[in-house]
Symmetry: C2
Subunit: 152 residues, 2 copies
């Protein structure tokens, strides 16, 4: 039984996280994994890490980083002042996909949201990620919204 | 020419904001506008107001609050460490709808995101809000994602 664990990401995890973001059908053109890692990634890590409403997390298997996601806790007036948890940038290392680790990681993230007192957990996923749609629906998420983006 | 202005929401605006959240096909069953306003709204306002990455805004017309939205600035590693702006809880007062105010408010919000250095602005809207889909598409937003939620 290999040990799966979850923890807050540290600065030394950034390279492994960016590698997972890049090793993806959509991420490959959006990321830059050349070494040394672009300063913009490290600056972003510092901003995330300093924000008490952000939790950048890694999943480890026998100590190796095999997954990542980012949680943002968003206070709002809607729904009688509910806190909501938002999940972004979900990745499992390619060689560890289809082994149930994604589900473990999302279950963990939802648990973190519950502990913080969130009334709802939300996420968006690209229209083209058909496997992801089935995955989240299997975990009980409802596809209630359309997600819009505009590049600046 | 009636003066339209935008500003950060103050505690004294919360009642007007909640009234707009409630006066809506989906919000009516989710909000509680009884007076005095439920403490949960005021606690949520304090949390939003204390967070430098949140901007709860109101639009005023000749001094009257006629619109609201909430901006959240989310640092992330994705897209080379891009900051993203997220828009939630968009409402225009019912008697001032269809007068172009929604567009003015979204244009203002996108401008705020640009000033903060966001690379992208994102939002989700309920699948049943067909008018909203046309509205955001007209403003240049692309419906690239599906939005999933789970209630805790």
């Amino acid at each position: 039984m290999v040990e799966i664990a979850f923890r807050r990401a540290e600065r030394t995890d950034v390279t492994a996280i960016v590698a997972m973001l890049a090793d993806d059908m959509l991420g490959s053109s959006r990321e830059d994994i050349s070494e040394p890692l672009a300063d913009s990634y490290l600056r972003a890590f510092e901003a995330i890490d300093a924000d008490p409403n952000q939790l950048l997390a890694v999943m480890t298997e026998a100590g190796r980083v095999v997954g990542t996601l980012q949680l943002t806790f968003i206070a709002g007036l809607s729904r009688r002042g509910s806190l909501r948890g938002q999940i972004e940038a979900v990745r499992v290392a390619r060689d560890r996909q289809s082994a149930g680790l994604g589900q473990k990681m999302i279950d963990w993230a939802v648990g973190q949201c519950r502990e913080r007192g969130c009334a709802i957990v939300q996420l968006t996923t690209d229209r083209n990620r058909h496997d992801a749609h089935r995955f989240y629906e299997r975990l009980g998420f409802k596809q209630t919204h359309f997600g819009y983006k505009i590049d600046l």
